[in-house]
Symmetry: C2
Subunit: 397 residues, 2 copies
Amino acid sequence: MNTESFFPKNIKAALQNNPPGDWIPSVPAKAIRLHSGYPAPHLVPSKDLKEAVAQLLEEENDLPLHYIGSPRIDKLKEWVRLRQEVRGMVAKDDELLITAGACQAIDLIARIFLDKDAVVIVESPTYMEALEIFQNYTEQIITVPVDKDGLQTGQLAELLAERKQKGLTMPSFLYTIPTFHNPTGTTMTEERRGQVLKLAEEYDFLVLEDDAYGELGFKENPKTLKSMDTKDRVLYVGSLSKVVAPGMRIGWVHATERFIQALFWFKKDLEHPFAQATMATLLENTDFTSRLQTLSESYQRKCQVMLAALEKSLPENASWFVPKGGYFVWVKITGVDTEKLLSKATEGGVSFLPGKYFFLDQAEGAEYLRLSFSYESEENIEEGIQVLGDVVQSFLR
Amino acid sequence: MNTESFFPKNIKAALQNNPPGDWIPSVPAKAIRLHSGYPAPHLVPSKDLKEAVAQLLEEENDLPLHYIGSPRIDKLKEWVRLRQEVRGMVAKDDELLITAGACQAIDLIARIFLDKDAVVIVESPTYMEALEIFQNYTEQIITVPVDKDGLQTGQLAELLAERKQKGLTMPSFLYTIPTFHNPTGTTMTEERRGQVLKLAEEYDFLVLEDDAYGELGFKENPKTLKSMDTKDRVLYVGSLSKVVAPGMRIGWVHATERFIQALFWFKKDLEHPFAQATMATLLENTDFTSRLQTLSESYQRKCQVMLAALEKSLPENASWFVPKGGYFVWVKITGVDTEKLLSKATEGGVSFLPGKYFFLDQAEGAEYLRLSFSYESEENIEEGIQVLGDVVQSFLR
């Protein structure tokens, strides 16, 4: 049997890319993990979840364990609707779809808008999982660079004008993480947000706004693109992974009714009644505003510790953006190949993610690395950055 | 904004089909539910699940709530591997993929093998969710009828020979539910199973074996196609939905390594750590053989009650297959449009699924209906069938 002969052309093409999860480093158990985009262990509400499950199953018995039946599935959606409203995004019930995290949401959006002839625009660098997803659908991925103020909308405008003029296929959508960007930690200015929406209208494309970190501002959370969107062009993707727990796999899409209908058409995992009802029960018992406050304070302290340690331990040729929220610090070390650096660093007992995985053209990421301050304790962050500094110094020698 | 202009051609075509879940009837809360393919409430281990979650989170704290980290995720896969082995299907670790139920597995298989030019063969009638899934990928769906001995392999052979002779596109795969079939309750004979595998080899197609009900035999469970498959042509799909709880969304694929790799490539919900680790914990504490015994005895009794009630209450022009396992009785009532019958039946207080939803050409299903004996109590089944009998009688008058 010739296994390859069974794959259609587009699948064969996708299978030529780097395999999924290629970027996950092999890290010794004892290493200080600065590569993981995980919430801090003590901020994951495992005790509350245990109690939520007990309450749910005592109150509802078998209901949340069937395909349909738990009233809490609707309650989760209502919680999401209210949360969107608090943030200036008014959704009707049929403008929301609960998904298995942000990734499934991004995959479904790619599924309904992309085929091999479609064009998608991404930020450079961008979230590696999203890159993997888009590469499963099309080879026509175009990048626009990010600076300290987010996506460079001037370059986006030029690129669009040029494609239009040349008669090239115009993009189906732009994928952006405007707030506390992964991996750079930067935030798009309000002016640029306005430009993105204006360009979307002018060149008739959609905007996929990934807001996984959007409520994790140290001081404040910027207005979302969706809240500024008067033309229904934004497909907003939210997630509870970074503010509750990624292992529960709860995210959502807020978009115009017809798009939600189409996304649901292709969502064939038949929901996740137990996970959704458990999350609804947890949220019933959670003061979410106060939870966000706790997360914000804790991550801000961790970030400050990391930035101070970077100042102290990294050489002159290293630079980074100062984040105003989120999970990440994006570091450039001129003259250092961060992939080679990683093996030395893990030997020394600290991990990070090499920049290459966040770029379509991986060579562009050679001198960058992503550090996450979310997972480890302040002590470990300090120690980890010191080890990293030593490894960089010895690497430069 | 013209929403439709954003959909590629194949998505536009798929959106022309009946919407997903179109078949779910609107049933009064008090009705006796003979439409639901749900396990019996008292057989869903909600108390054990509550304890499993408590144990899991006490032992592992935040581990199962991150993306990766719980050792029980590997343990679930190992449980599945051993279960396959018990049933004569030897899998290596990289020949298994855990999925969000059988439906996600079927969707992923369709995703990697079907495009608009591909041909898929299904049984007629067949599982309505699978039909919906395949229609999302191709319009070239070919049906082969089922009789009391399962898929009519003679007709399959003729169809294949004819396509070959005419130079038509040959099928990528055959989708079959050989054991305790949904909706007919029939089981494919061993001889026919051999023929399916022989034809797959002769005409170079794959076999998607959906075995969701395969361990729910009243007396015994037939050999799976996968256990007879010496050529790696079978993609076996298993599920814990019918033997533990559908709301947990745990299924799997057992297939040759290259296909598992390709399925994983397109599975973008990033696993379900909490659900998988919870299920692993539950299964650690479950005597599965004894559980299957309990399920089999209970469903056999319910089935017998349903069959006796059908004999008693349904008129001469009604006939059905006698199932040897599973959840369903498939009834034909000559001269009755079962979709019209349904609204009378739900008014009377009983529900079923009209046959039309299980056929590609819905007109073929007009005189059929699917009854599920799994969910309701023996008393309710008896009463429900009596009501159904009355409704049929009044309908015929």
